[in-house]
Symmetry: C2
Subunit: 239 residues, 2 copies
């Protein structure tokens, strides 16, 4: 299994050899997008969905005055843009946080999967349902948690997701983001992000130097975050 998506989906249900082969062959080409550039823009109706092979990307929506809200972070193995297969035009943009490598999957191929591979279709569908579950989790954070809780939650979520695909271990990971961008994800100001990071540091819950985040007290962080990982559906069972 040398494919990040197969790794990831394999955590949720068993994939047959045939299904794995289909996933390996789905993509027609690889596209590279530079840090800061958009992969897809709000309003477009792309003919391909893209799978993130390498790098970090965000889903985001912007308001007329330029204010931004990041609605999700994506990492290697995420089928970032599966939504655009059926949902057109795009209601949001996908932007590269770092340089990204993306595998393009034509919508015609996905349509064929829905016609010939019911089990794989359900797995892909599930993938988008988990995106929705993560959205709900973020809504709770944005609506009901103070800044420290929101940040703590994000750290817990990202660590578990990265760990699940082998991109983090030992409670530490690289998070290549500016505090300004983090503000757009947490729904607070850049200045306050800075103060909130310091608050978690002072409480002995994390260290954060450059891009490296280390969780020093997972239980403490989980308490501040009121975090329960069930929504990530990281356990395998037949669908």
């Amino acid at each position: 299994m040398a494919h990040p998506l197969i790794d990831k989906l394999g955590h949720r249900d068993r994939l047959s050899e045939n299904e794995q082969a289909i996933i390996m062959e789905m993509s027609t080409s690889i596209r590279t997008v530079e840090a800061g550039d958009d992969v897809v823009k709000e309003g477009e109706s792309p003919e391909n969905s893209c799978l993130l092979v390498e790098g970090w990307a965000t889903r985001n929506k912007s308001l007329s005055d330029g204010r931004l809200q990041i609605t999700a972070f994506h990492i290697a193995g995420d089928f970032v843009d599966l939504h655009s297969f059926l949902l057109k035009p795009m209601d949001h943009s996908i932007s590269a946080l770092t340089r990204c490598k993306l595998a393009l999957v034509p919508h015609a191929t996905l349509k064929k999967v829905t016609e010939e591979q019911p089990h794989l279709t359900r797995i892909f569908w599930l993938n988008t349902l988990i995106d929705a579950a993560i959205h709900r989790e973020w809504m709770v954070a944005l609506g009901r948690l103070p800044a420290s809780g929101r940040l703590a939650r994000l750290i817990c979520e990202l660590y578990l997701r990265l760990e699940a695909v082998g991109l983090a271990k030992a409670l530490t990971f690289e998070f290549p983001i500016t505090q300004t961008a983090l503000a757009d994800a947490l729904g607070i100001s850049g200045v306050h992000v800075n103060r909130t990071i310091q608050e978690l540091r002072r409480a002995g819950l994390i260290t954060w130097q450059g891009a490296r985040v280390t969780i020093k007290d997972f239980d403490g962080l989980r308490d501040v975050a009121e975090f329960d990982p069930t929504y990530l559906n990281l356990t395998s069972h037949p669908r």
Copy 2:
């Protein structure tokens, strides 16, 4: 077309006679849930998905101390709980805001649809993708809009959704909710909901008496809300 779901899905793509017949026959039974009761609770793994035939329901998640965040409102014709077909256990609860009539659809039937009805599968999948798009829209509101903007958005969204299924017209609709529950949707306190409603009233944008909400100045309300209805995907095209 005497079925609310057929009405609704018909706005997004054409349904064949056969597909309409399948939808009519999917449901094995009707369940009634009283106002305030839960339809499904967080943590459960139901064997049926439920389709809301009559009444208002919410999706919600609660924190350990009892604070609540409503993540969506659902109305007649919404396939509220399609998520639980593949996403188990439930990451959130579904609760009845008013007395609700729900049609139960066994997951085995849905599985059969995915195996025999690719087009209908895509339509159902799309339905959950639109739920996700609405979630993203709410995240922008929760993260980046002041209370007045959040409330204005909700009113715009609900009006358009109700109108699309024939449950509202002439810029007025019944919204049977308490200000406390509204607070749990908007991520603010109950007291502040009250003041925010008054603010929109004073600005001449709405009236709100008892459960009846009337939009007096749609353009004005849309501006306060920074509302763009694209995300609701209310237009029909082949999927």
